[in-house]
Symmetry: C2
C-alpha cells in the first residue's frame, strides 16, 4: 500500500513537471502538495528521473541550493529524430507539392502541431548548448516553427514584421532582397519587442538564396543582438550558388524541383543527422 502511494506520487510529479516544461519547481512545492517530507520527495524524484532516463523523450534536471528545484527538459532521441525527418522528407517529395513559380507547398505540414512538436524538439536539442535567450523569426509561415522551438527551450519568441506594419511605438526597419521574389522588401521590428544585446536563435521555414536570413542578421545587428544560431527547416540546394549567409543549420534539403513533371526531391541533411 505504501509502495502504491509512492507510484501515484511519482505519476503526479511527472505530470506536474511535464505540464510546465523548462520551469524550475522547488521541492517544497511538491512536499506541500503531497503532504510529505522533502526527503521523501527527493527519493520520488530520483526514481522518476531514472524512469525517464531511457526514453530519450525528456529528462529531469535538478538544481541544488536554496534557489534550486527540478525541471523537465523535453527532448527527442537521435533515433526518433532521424526517423521523423526521413518520413517528413518523403512527404515533402510527394507529387503535387510544386506550386507555380517553383515553390514547394509545405503549409499543411508547417501548421500541424503533430509535425511541429518534434521539429521544435529537434531545433531545441541542436541549439540548446548555444544558450539562446530568445527565438526570432519573420512572419508568417515561420511563426509556428519558431514557437514550438521557443517552447521546447523555455524561451520567448519575437516576430519580425514584413513591410512597415509595426504599430508598436518606434521601430527599426531595414531593406533586404528576398531570394524568392528578387525584389527589395522591408522588414521591421518594434524597439520594445527585443532588448539590446540578447543571445538570439533565428528560426525560419525555408531558405533559398539566404536573402531573408541576411536581412534578419542585419536587423539583429541594429539591436546589438548576438545571433548564436540560425536554423531552417528546408534549404533549397538547386544551384551551386553559395548562400548569402554562413553557419546556418538546415534539417532538410530540397535537391530537385522538376516543374514540368511536378516532382520534387527532399532529403534529410546528412551532416545534421550526424550532429544529432
Amino acid at each position: 500500500m505504501e509502495k502504491m502511494k509512492r507510484a501515484e506520487r511519482m505519476v503526479a510529479i511527472t505530470q506536474m513537471l511535464m505540464s510546465n516544461p523548462n520551469v524550475l519547481t522547488p521541492l517544497t512545492l511538491f512536499a506541500e502538495r503531497f503532504g510529505t517530507a522533502k526527503s521523501t520527495i527527493s527519493e520520488d524524484l530520483m526514481a522518476v528521473k531514472g524512469s525517464l532516463l531511457l526514453s530519450g523523450q525528456g529528462r529531469l534536471e535538478t538544481i541544488s541550493g536554496a534557489a534550486g528545484g527540478v525541471r523537465y527538459i523535453p527532448e527527442i532521441s537521435q533515433e526518433e529524430a532521424t526517423r521523423f525527418l526521413s518520413k517528413l522528407a518523403e512527404r515533402l517529395s510527394e507529387k503535387g507539392r510544386i506550386l507555380a513559380g517553383g515553390f514547394l507547398y509545405m503549409t499543411d505540414l508547417l501548421y500541424d502541431p503533430s509535425i511541429l512538436r518534434p521539429l521544435g524538439l529537434i531545433f531545441a536539442s541542436a541549439f540548446r548548448k548555444e544558450e539562446p535567450e530568445v527565438v526570432v523569426t519573420i512572419e508568417t509561415k515561420g511563426i509556428p516553427l519558431a514557437l514550438v522551438t521557443a517552447e521546447a527551450l523555455g524561451l520567448p519568441m519575437v516576430v519580425i514584421r514584413t513591410g512597415n506594419k509595426v504599430t508598436e511605438g518606434s521601430s527599426v526597419s531595414i531593406n533586404y532582397v528576398s531570394g524568392s521574389s528578387r525584389r527589395i522588401q522591408t522588414m521591421s521590428l518594434s524597439r520594445r519587442a527585443l532588448d539590446s544585446k540578447r543571445r538570439v536563435l533565428v528560426i525560419d521555414d525555408f531558405m533559398k538564396a539566404g536573402g531573408t536570413a541576411l536581412g534578419i542578421k542585419n536587423l539583429m545587428a541594429e539591436f546589438e543582438a548576438d545571433v548564436v544560431g540560425t536554423g531552417v527547416l528546408v534549404e533549397a540546394q538547386l544551384t551551386l550558388e553559395p548562400k548569402l549567409v554562413e553557419g546556418y543549420l538546415s534539417l532538410l534539403q530540397l535537391r530537385e524541383l522538376d516543374l514540368s513533371g511536378g516532382r520534387s526531391s527532399v532529403v534529410p541533411d546528412a551532416l545534421f543527422l550526424k550532429r544529432l
Copy 2:
C-alpha cells in the same frame, strides 16, 4: 522490487502519453515496449488514470475495442484558469501598454509560450464539446494563440492571409472592414488549405468592432465550413455599439482605455469564468 518496476512503468507510460497528447496509443505498443502482458499494462493504466485524476491538469481517455487504446487529454482546472486569467488581466492593465492610435500592447504576452500554453488549454476546454475539426485564424498575432489551441485539441491549424499574398494555387478572397483601421481590406485562403464542410473553430487575439471576425465568417461560408465556435483573447468593450458578430467567446474584456493618462483596464469576462 516488483512494485518498483510497476512505478517505473507508470512514469514511463505517463511520459509517453504526455509527449504525444491527444494521440491514441494502442495497449499492445506499451506491452511490447515493456515486455509485459497486456493485462499488466491495463492495470498500470488504471493506476495512472487514478493518479492523474485529481490534478485537473489532464486526464487519460481509454477507448476499448480492436481500434482502441489510450490517450492523454491536457486540461486546465477551473481554479487555475481563473487565477491565470486574473493575473493576465492585471498585466494587461499595467501602465505603458497603450500605443498611439488607441491600441493595447499585447505582443510580448502573445508570443510567450508560458502564457500561451494555459490560454490554449482554456480555449480547448471551452470548445472541445463543439467537436471542431480545424482551428482557423488570421495572420499575424493570432497565430501562436491558434496553434496552442489546436495543439491542446489535437487538431491542425489554418491561417488566413491578409491581402492577396496567397501563392498556393487558387484561392478565395473576400473584402472586409477591419474595426481598427476602418478601411476596406482583403483576406485570402488557398483552396487547398481547407477541405469543404469542415467544423471550424475561429481563434483570434483581439476583437474591436468584430469586422475581422465577420470577414472570417464570410470567408468560411465560401468553404461551406460550419463555424462551431469563435474565441478571442481580448474583446474591447469601450462603447455600447454592438459587435458585428454574435455568439463569440472572449476571455478578457478591455473596459477602459485612457489615452491621455496611459491607463487601461482589462478584466476577465465574468460570464466566461462562470462557464468554465
